[in-house]
Amino acid sequence: MKFTGAAMLSLAALPASSGHGHTDPNTARMGVLVDLTECIGCRRCEFACAEANGNPHDPIESYDDQSVFAETRRPTPGSLSVVNRPVNAASDGTPVHVKIQCMHCEHAPCVSACLVGAMQKNPDGAVTYDASRCIGCRYCMVACPFERLSYEYDAALAPRIRKCELCRDRTANGKLPACVEICPVEALTYGERDQLIRYAHERIAEHPDRYIDHVYGETEGGGTSWLYLADRPFSELGFPTLGPRSSAEVTEAIQHGIFQGFAAPLALFGVMAGLNFLTKRGSHS
């Protein structure tokens, strides 16, 4: 029942297969809901991600290798999405797997931080990277509250930031993001962000024993396009605890407060010119 629900939502949200006009990705904020209680840690999403992003990868069977769960991994230039196992079977009966990638923040600090506009928040919610603008300062990485950006340190001449771009080229052609499409247990649901949040809360209401009452990403850091459901506090699963405001809100308020209409710098210039004039007269008298 749950599975069919998830499938339906992702189908309904698909522009190509949907009969409703309001799911046009050009206007609708899209997102992905991850049900961590469903994920079996098969890592098929890692394979699909590498394939869709043109990263070198091994055959799909190699992703059955569970030894990678021994350590906590983070996205790398070669694998933009990785699955971790923060809770293993030994500690608590059933293991919990967590797929991580760029969260596509609503008010993304990386977008706010980038001085040349290489990071962009698109109308469909995807945060994308334009290497042709990038100067390689890595301030976006410093700013990222989830630390999901990776950098090609080994490229001597033209290193790039690498990140999940929500498979924009696929969704524009009516396809699902590669990871969502391949997931065999439908732990991932692609759809309009608003609908996903409503749906997530319905799921929690239907199965209060299965989930904690928290949709991660609904408000964290001002909200994210990727949303998570889990059976235990997210802090136990390696998710950062973030307030409802994006850190970019603070810096933008400071910057635009100081430089509004360029009034403060002009005033300071005026004051100094005045001081200069007054002390000059004084020193000659």
């Binding site: 630390e147 033209a158 605890t241 200069n276």
Partner: protein
Amino acid sequence: MTTMPIHHNSNSPKYFTPGVWIVTAVAAVGGLCLLYRFTFGLGAATNLSDAYPWGIWIGIDVACGVALAAGGFTSAFLAHLLHRDAYHAVVRPALLTAAIGYTFVALGVMTDLGRFWAMWHVMLPWMWQPNSVLFEVALCVMCYLTVLYIEFLPIACERFIGRVRLPGLLGVLNRPVDRVLRALDSTLARVMTVFVILGVLLSCMHQSSLGTLMVITGDKLHPLWQSPYLPLMFLLSAFAVGYPMVIFESIIAHRSLRLRIETRVLSMLARLTPIILGLYLVVKVLDLVRRGVAPLLLENSPASNLFLAEVTLGVLAPMLIFSVPRLRRSIPWLFTGASLVILGVVMNRLNVFLIAYSPLDLTASYTPAWTEIAVTTGFIAMTVLIYRFVVLNFPVIEGLAVPYRNREQHDAGTPNRTRVLNDRLPTASPNGDLVRPSHETNRIDRAVAQGAAS
């Protein structure tokens, strides 16, 4: 001061001394490591990672570099904007330090940029992203660097006016070039006030924004440092470190060049420092209280100890030293106090940019690679070498007999008289706004005497 005795013979100091050779070696090693970085990339030359995207090239070369170059605008503010003539002696060395310092800040940034060849994107209006704090910092630093070079132009004009000697056939251009220099010099003298004010303004803007830069890291920066008031604290600490930096550098330069140290001017600068440090301290304490994190100071953690060390060594101790008139007149104490302020600001910038910044993955760590350290020390060595070259060849430090003067004396057939910079030609300063004509030096003497007496 017009007749300041020169304690060595008319031969100006040699460029190379054993110490300078060591500095040259450090610079050379840095240069090789720089070559390595640009050939093999950041991955090969640094220990940077996705968890620690910024290392010492940003933490030291850029963040500390910008702060420690604050002597330029703070002394220009006193001497040129407020017309405190007593401080004229320190303005040129401070300006030179700032110009060289910011040049190396720019080089440091370039070294750290993965796509350094795209650096010019910052100058393209269609690339601008005005929400970005870094955008403002980058633009301000570029503009300020330009202003610093413009402020240095009169010194270059003074050096060459009346002494243009182009080699070989180019010699026919000596007169035209001289005329151009004179025109440039008199034009600059008329408009320089605008550039001085602009320099102070741009400094205030980016010194503070350098603090805003790390606000966006949110909880990744330790709560003892993370604050929306970081820009104000960065600005105040830049003000505070300006004069100590002038004192520090002046004592070293005068020792190295065997000149008498202008203790009276330096002690006047030292007297101003506790006031600014005190203001900085008040803001820092109020901020901790306002955010309710003051109790963290008592938890005896590495972070709390670092914070307390930063404030005790870098703020309280020099405030104390510089508040005692007797200590302010002692060169060793002046040097100690100035070094402590510098240490405090360096600790603060390193804490904010590197040490108090912790990635979500607490197992991740960053220790700079030896190549990173070598590039940083190499850059510092290069600033020293360039500083020494410029003061030995341009009229920067008062009382220093620079070689071209000697050469001119030989040309003029007056080999036995040492001429010092104070009696330079009045033609070099037609307006007299930024340069000091000789009649002003007497006023300086009086002002210095008054300042020391009060």
